[in-house]
Assembly symmetry: C2
Homo-oligomer: 106 residues x 2
């Protein structure tokens, strides 16, 4: 495999890995409704605020969200609405698997 393909795969994997975590998935779902500050998201996620902050900085690093500092709060915005399509696809995979399991039983 050539080095270019390798780099491209790694770049893609980095983004997908960022989405592949329950807490970050929740954050993305929340941000899909509109911008929110770290404290609000922390309320939803239920982890320590420092943990949520790190999740957000990872999402920002891969380009999925952007931040906007206003006063002493930081508001995060979803930059890639297409991640919502991810969710649909993933949902269909889940349903297909359930269907498959039903067939195995029956």
């Amino acid at each position: 495999m050539d080095a270019y393909r390798q780099k491209r795969l790694e770049a893609r994997a980095r983004i997908l890995k960022a989405v592949g975590n329950a807490s970050r998935l929740l954050i993305l779902e929340e941000l899909a409704q509109g911008e929110k500050c770290v404290a609000d998201l922390t309320q939803e996620v239920g982890s320590d605020i420092s943990t949520v902050s790190k999740h957000l900085s990872l999402l920002k690093a891969v380009g999925l969200v952007k931040d906007d500092k206003r006063g002493n709060q930081v508001f995060y915005t979803l930059l890639a609405p297409c991640v919502l399509n991810f969710f649909d696809c993933v949902e269909s995979v889940l349903e297909a698997r359930v269907q498959h399991q039903i067939e195995m039983i029956g």
Copy 2:
């Protein structure tokens, strides 16, 4: 957050996590062209065949691929063509980030 939402997020995250790995991403790209056996995929990935086999069993466990044993070979097939849309979305995120960096420089 209610327990149902938690479970749903974890199930989704499990699938997305499976995609968020360069080797598995390569495997999925290869399988998008049609079914392949473990040895063929190993050739592409460049890791040990046991490693590739483990990647495949993970992809199968989350329902993204299925396997079909024929003779002494095992052929894997992509079950969720919609993951290809992931790739488009991820690509657009990558491009947007590059664009953003250009703006920062300029």
